[in-house]
Symmetry: C2
Subunit: 334 residues, 2 copies
């Protein structure tokens, strides 16, 4: 039998306070003296009472749940982000309703789930979504923050690393270190992250009238490996490869090793993300660091502002990163 039939009135009787005092103790931010609070919590503990968040949610119209949709939890970059969102939201009193979208598109099913559970807000990372999906949330007054996804004219808030800037700086770094034949390994087609990194990279190269070779690596280790093999077996192989994320760059480094091509002596490789593995000694990958902690904090702050005040305008926040120079790039002199 569930202990759930112990209710606030039992706790009130047991601790000798009114039922509304018990309610206040379990309502975040409500006014109640420390002494009373402690007495009520002790009684609740002894009786095995816990407030029913769900019943409370029906009254307050707040569930304190945030829906997080994520496409590729196997990518260490996103796995780490999920952990940090969970922790950051918890410190603000929110809980995570998690959806792993096996397809890269956010589908009707995931949307319905978040709507049915009446989440207070939604964070979407590493997954595509159409603006009609965003509209469905907004019509239901559920604010949405896109994390590391950018949609032009999006009616919701966006927190994103400045991918164009990152791509440009990486291109300039290759040029400043004397590279002349450059390649770009793109991630998943149609993702704004890959398209923007490519765009910035092309802009930098255009200043020297250069065009990068182009390959696709699907944002996976094996995709990056295969793309690098194709590039490195060309008659005139590139002397520098920019991979649109780190996990593909690790694949590219291993492909070069397998082919007996030395990094950085024969070819330089730069990634994007700065996942933990990139610092591992056999890789020591030069890469673009996304200021993840800062980005997550910004996303949480914006979402909570919009939850607390539905008149809040959506914000688009582009956050800069920085180049982390390790040992996968060599200064070339001609």
């Amino acid at each position: 039998m569930r202990k759930k039939n112990i209710n606030a009135s039992d706790v009130a009787k047991f601790s000798g306070v009114s039922q509304s005092t018990v309610s206040r103790v379990f309502t975040p931010g409500a006014n109640v003296s420390e002494k009373t609070r402690r007495r009520v919590l002790q009684a609740a503990n002894e009786l095995g009472y816990h407030p029913n968040a769900i019943a409370r949610g029906l009254i307050t119209q707040k569930t304190n749940m945030i829906g997080i949709a994520m496409g590729d939890v196997k990518n260490p970059f996103y796995a780490e982000i999920l952990g940090k969102f969970s922790y950051g939201l918890r410190t603000k009193g929110y809980h995570v309703l998690f959806v792993n979208t096996d397809t890269t598109d956010i589908q009707g099913e995931e949307v319905s789930q978040f709507l049915e559970y009446n989440v207070d807000g939604v964070i979407i990372t590493d997954a595509l979504l159409s603006s009609s999906v965003v509209t469905r949330f907004l019509e239901n007054d559920i604010p949405v923050v896109l994390f590391n996804r950018y949609i032009e004219d999006c009616p919701c808030s966006i927190v994103c690393c400045d991918n164009i800037l990152g791509g440009t700086k990486i291109g300039e770094h290759f040029l400043n270190t004397g590279h002349q034949r450059l390649a770009f390994i793109a991630g998943k087609r149609n993702t704004s992250t890959s398209k923007d990194r490519e765009k910035g990279f092309r802009e930098a190269l255009r200043q020297k009238d250069l065009e990068p070779l182009l390959e696709f690596g699907e944002y996976t280790y094996h995709g990056g490996y295969a793309a690098a093999v194709r590039l490195l077996q060309m008659e005139q192989r590139p002397d520098g490869i920019f991979c649109a994320n780190d996990i593909m760059a690790l694949g590219a480094l291993d492909a070069a090793k397998q082919l007996g091509i030395k990094v950085p002596d024969d070819v330089s490789i730069i990634g994007f993300d700065d996942i933990g593995m990139s610092a591992w000694p056999p890789y020591s990958l030069t890469t673009w660091q996304q200021p993840v902690d800062f980005m997550i904090q910004a996303a949480i702050d914006i979402l909570i502002q919009e939850i607390d005040d539905s008149a809040q305008e959506p914000q688009h926040r582009l956050i800069q990163g920085g180049l982390i120079a390790r040992n996968s790039v060599q200064l070339r002199t001609t």
Copy 2:
């Protein structure tokens, strides 16, 4: 303004059916003709109606939410498992309330969260918990499945790889391939996974009157790296190292490389888990494969059985794995 004030009665009027028919359409498994179902869904769609899972939950005493607590989402093994649980539970109509426990202990706060949201069941992976925590869930009639954690005399269900067997088989494999000076790099102290793998390993070695050297690597890449450095710099270094998980074994492989000690020529290394990276060419790690898909399916099946029938006895399911031989072990002849 929220569209939420569109309710089942509006949908009933719009589609010309009774309100109870609308309810049946949105109740999984309820009896309703395909033609009616389609008519109601179309009306719901046009009006922007979605059933309120939370209100429904208060009536049915089912929320269709499963709480998942996970300690180390950064470990690729667990990140992958989370994605698979999310997918597997969704196909059964359940949703994931996710908690990342930054400490390795499941704390009161996480427990309260799951209780407050009235989850139908709880899955705990990669996190320690005391039996008093389990008791709190069971008292509230919320079934718990421990995934890859084993507690003696635990009153809840357990799905676990047979870690003792795995450790024994790895020990025997080292002995059968002529290794004589063996070491064990343990994971986090007090985790049943590490203790059981060590126990099995010791049992195998005892048959030849051998004792392993012992180091600790905290289940992280850097911990495994540092532990391997300590072992490989000993005057009489081991010729075989069993690491209690793969991510430590990858660290150990890199440490050997850094020290100029060849794997497998000078030292053999075996891991445990078979994460994706272990198959990457520069590692090619021999390891113990946990049959993850099968374990996840078993955990979901057991949990749902217990949700549907609270008289169900807890089950302890030990699942065997198998050795995946790659290139990190060499046959030694004396």
